[in-house]
Assembly symmetry: none
Homo-oligomer: 241 residues x 2
């Protein structure tokens, strides 16, 4: 079968088949002397597999790994993919809620304040406030809160940005450069808000996994983020002392 036929049968475009060929994802079984791609029935089956995983939201790179590596742990891949999809859905739900709010409240008008506007996105509640009070005293915490208030949603935005960044690198080694850079940002952020010794910082990390109120809130940004942060923070403390 030549490209167009395969395209018609599978519902993908000819360009897509070219693309998959380029990527080495689906090489036609044969090539005529004129350079025409000729696909076999096996090729068709492969293509179906590809489309299956694609429909599940896997990237072509991932699909290539999955299919080319017979020993690849498909279950693991599926589970992690599932988690990703759940995260995406939560993000979407947040967006939808916020957009509903906006439509309802302001009818799309600009009258909303920044803080209101950003309410839906971050988790503004400080999940570790009580612990912080116990640990570092009311004074420090109040000051921190004042600072947070002062800048309104800006600091929270930043905090979220750091969390997101951390979530992105959480599959790397905690002592990797990337991870340490990100956790360093976190340390700096905390210190723009209050004052944290490097030991307190490390201790904070422990709390992230010890107390599930932390864990749940942090893991909203990515499953396993809390424990990753603990490891990275510990490493950071050891390394920068």
């Amino acid at each position: 079968m030549k490209v167009k036929e395969v395209a018609a049968l599978s519902g993908v475009s000819v360009r897509t088949l070219h693309h998959y060929d380029e990527l080495g994802l689906l090489k036609p079984a044969e090539t005529t002397e004129a350079g025409y791609r000729v696909y076999s029935d096996e090729n068709l089956a492969e293509l179906q597999q590809i489309l299956f995983y694609r429909a599940l939201g896997f990237s072509l790179k991932q699909i290539k790994e999955i299919l080319s590596n017979p020993s690849f742990n498909r279950l693991e891949a599926l589970v992690s993919q599932q988690q990703m999809l759940h995260q995406k859905r939560e993000q979407l739900d947040d967006m939808i809620r916020t957009i509903e709010q906006t439509i309802k409240e302001g009818k799309g008008e600009v009258t909303m304040t920044r803080e209101e506007r950003f309410k839906g996105f971050d988790f503004s509640e400080n999940p570790y406030e009580q612990e912080a009070r116990d640990r570092w005293g009311d004074e420090a915490v109040d000051e921190t809160n004042k600072k947070l208030q002062q800048f309104g949603g800006k600091q929270q935005e930043k905090m979220n940005a750091i969390y997101r960044r951390l979530a992105e690198v959480r599959h790397l080694q905690p002592d990797s450069e990337e991870a340490q850079k990100a956790i360093g940002d976190w340390y700096q952020f905390l210190n723009t808000i209050g004052t944290y010794s490097i030991e307190a910082f490390s201790g904070l990390g422990e709390m992230y996994v010890a107390d599930e109120r932390f864990t749940t809130n942090i893991d909203k940004f990515g499953i396993g983020l809390a424990s990753f942060m603990r490891d990275a923070m510990k490493e950071y403390a050891q390394h920068n002392n």
Copy 2:
């Protein structure tokens, strides 16, 4: 304020500010003679607006329209954006369901056959089996089934591919070249499985709309597909006789 400060306050990267500047989305109020970007408080407010809409999933292009055009209908934009998000969520839900199925059924192991894997997507059950039995007798049908079994999921995959292809062209005229080619594939497919006279083929098309069990199953691939197929099959029969 210079870039880094704004970046720190807002949680976006310096590069992002550069980018928004390039796009004309957020031009700094001032530029020093050395070319340094200097942002005003107004700029900050603009940035917050930008981030707000960005968080709602708007593209930068859309955001530019919304913000630069004071008369732009924000409400309308919000509503249409909301609809988009809902669609995306449904897609995600589909993916999640399918992935759950896959994990549950096969535990992700490689022992899964292709048929199992695709079970979530296609309607493997032959929706017209009883009708076929009535019309062409048990013998022919059994033979067809045997053939289907013989080739395993491949034939079903092929069938789905053809359905999908048909769904894609179902908005065209039934006698258009594209449509006729696709319906020709369908005819050929049926004949690789059993033997269908051109009249039987045309009759089959009638059944697609006459019996709602057909209609529902076929229309799973696209609303209106069944009736489109009937028209195309009729045309095909007339043309190829």
